[in-house]
């Protein structure tokens, strides 16, 4: 894109009232927020997929530790439960959850491992259903109750669906934040272009008079938008990457986050490297659109 006019043409107007610093700051803030929102959105989407996949076709059978009225010993109850499960055509595999794993689940409430061990913990059996199977938790439970009357089956659906809904809502919120960042960027650049055009009204009229096209003038604003948005975009992105790095570091040492599948924050940040590039292109196009629109109202 060649510019027939000297590229210093509107320098003084952009420096006037520090509009250049305003543009750099707006871009930096928008890129920071957009990088953050995009990373959060990508992380939440990844979490949703991970959790969806991890519970899809999986159910958990719970056999309470206390014996029922038949006083059948626990190992025998487990054996009979597994026999029924293996006899079902829709069951792909079964795995008894080790006691240590079961005790770990209580860690947020009972931190003393000895105390957890002394409790009558139920036996949990993780079962995997064959893909495409129509077996429900209820039908499997009914079959199990014929041998172990207090056995129950949980398909995780009830508690997980609420959580997934929440995550999906948060994903939409992050996407909306991205949209808002873009909208604010456009509005800010539009206002800055208006301010510069008001300052340079005589110059623009002169350029029109000597034969400049609207495109010739818009290219100059695009040039300034690009020139000023690069440093802002890179600074905002660097700051967002640093923040996400710190967040990733903090999550590693947060006990409550131990059940969240590992998320590669830095990997996600790398994915969001397109944000500064998109911001610069967006600033460039916003300047062009704004200036052409404003020029169109001139004779």
């Amino acid at each position: 894109m060649t510019m027939p006019l000297p590229n210093t043409l509107f320098n003084s107007a952009f420096q006037h009232q520090r509009l250049n610093w305003l543009l750099i700051s707006v871009i930096a803030i928008m890129v920071y927020l957009a990088t953050f929102a995009m990373t959060i959105e990508a992380a939440l989407s990844l979490l949703t997929i991970t959790w969806d996949q991890s519970v899809e076709n999986h159910m958990t059978v719970e056999i309470p530790a206390l014996g029922d009225e038949t006083s059948m010993p626990q190992p025998e109850r487990i054996k009979q439960t597994l026999a029924v499960l293996h006899a079902l055509p829709d069951i792909q595999s079964t795995a008894i959850v080790p006691d240590q794993e079961t005790a770990k689940l209580l860690k947020p409430w009972i931190s003393d491992p000895e105390l957890a061990k002394s409790l009558p913990l139920p036996t949990l059996i993780d079962i995997e259903i064959k893909p495409g199977s129509f077996s429900s938790a209820q039908s499997i439970e009914e079959r199990l109750k014929t041998v172990v009357s207090d056995a129950s089956v949980d398909d995780h659906a009830s508690w997980l669906s609420d959580l997934l809904h929440l995550i999906r809502d948060l994903t939409f919120l992050a996407a909306f934040m991205l949209f808002l960042s873009g909208a604010i960027l456009f509005i800010s650049i539009n206002l800055i272009c208006r301010a510069v055009m008001a300052t340079e009204k005589d110059t623009i009229e002169l350029l029109h008079t000597i034969g400049a096209t609207d495109n010739d003038i818009a290219r100059h604003f695009q040039h300034h938008a690009r020139r000023l948005s690069w440093p802002g975009a890179l600074f905002g992105f660097a700051l967002a990457t640093l923040t996400l790095g710190l967040l990733s570091f903090a999550l590693k040492y947060l006990p409550a986050a131990s059940n969240i599948p590992a998320i590669q924050w830095f990997g996600l940040a790398l994915l969001t490297m397109m944000v500064p590039l998109v911001a610069v292109i967006g600033a460039n196009l916003s300047a062009r659109f704004s200036v052409l629109k404003l020029l169109h109202n001139m004779p």
Binding site: N11, S12, E205, H208, T209, I210, G211, D214, H296
Partner: protein, 227 residues
């Protein structure tokens, strides 16, 4: 005809008419004064001719084109054939005399070596050969005026419009400008020179367009006005 105005009228937001029922034609290579008292509408009429203003009424035929029928993107090509000299010069403050004068050539896509050579020669012709790289702030009023003239004629326009060109310069500079306009006119450029200085009109003895309260009273020779 180079330019024909038919029943041109101009008013802003339903206010009093700035121009009313203006009609005249200019032939190629002609020289006209546009005169009248302050506020008569001289600058507004010039703005309409150099397409900076759309008339509220009437139509303009410029270089054989009906302006009303032209698309916005077609107008710059016509504007490049008009040179305009503003009363306040309108030089871009951070560009040198050479860069200011070269702007129309750059917009027309001329080659850099031609731009440098032709603009330097032209500035030399208007007497600014030794001030090529001077910023407008370091030029005198007369020098700024000549840099503005160089910018207006660098593209060899068919029509040159000058709005009170001698209003802000001393007597000697005014005489020099008058000579410049005569020279340009001899080279075939049609000139419309807006002024309220009657001595200038009488000195050059060219036809005048007399505006009063937005109306063109009548085109008449300067001798008639003097009488």
């Amino acid at each position: 005809m180079l330019l024909t105005l038919n029943h041109i009228g101009l008013r802003y937001n339903q206010n009093r008419a700035v121009l009313q029922n203006i009609s005249f034609s200019l032939a190629p290579g002609s020289f006209h004064f546009l005169t009248g008292p302050s506020g008569a509408g001289k600058s507004s009429l010039l703005r309409i001719i150099y397409l900076a203003e759309k008339p509220s009424e009437g139509n303009i035929n410029l270089f054989g084109h009906d302006i009303a029928k032209m698309a916005r993107h077609e107008l710059p090509a016509l504007r490049r054939q008009i040179g305009v000299i503003f009363q306040d010069f309108r030089l871009i403050p951070h560009l040198s005399a050479l860069e200011n004068a070269a702007l129309p050539l750059r917009l027309a896509g001329a080659r850099e070596d031609y731009i440098q050579r032709h603009t330097s020669e032209l500035l030399d012709w208007v007497g600014l050969g030794d001030r090529l790289h001077a910023l407008p702030s370091s030029l005198s009023g007369g020098e700024q005026q000549r840099a503005a003239i160089a910018r207006a004629i660098v593209n060899k326009p068919k029509l040159l419009l000058a709005d009170e060109p001698t209003g802000n310069v001393d007597e000697e500079s005014a005489m020099r400008l008058t000579h410049l306009f005569n020279e340009l006119n001899k080279m075939g450029t049609a000139i419309v020179l807006a002024t309220h200085q009657q001595d200038l009109i009488q000195r050059l003895n060219k036809p005048s367009l007399w505006l009063k309260e937005g109306r063109l009273i009548a085109p008449f020779p300067p001798s008639a006005k003097a009488a």
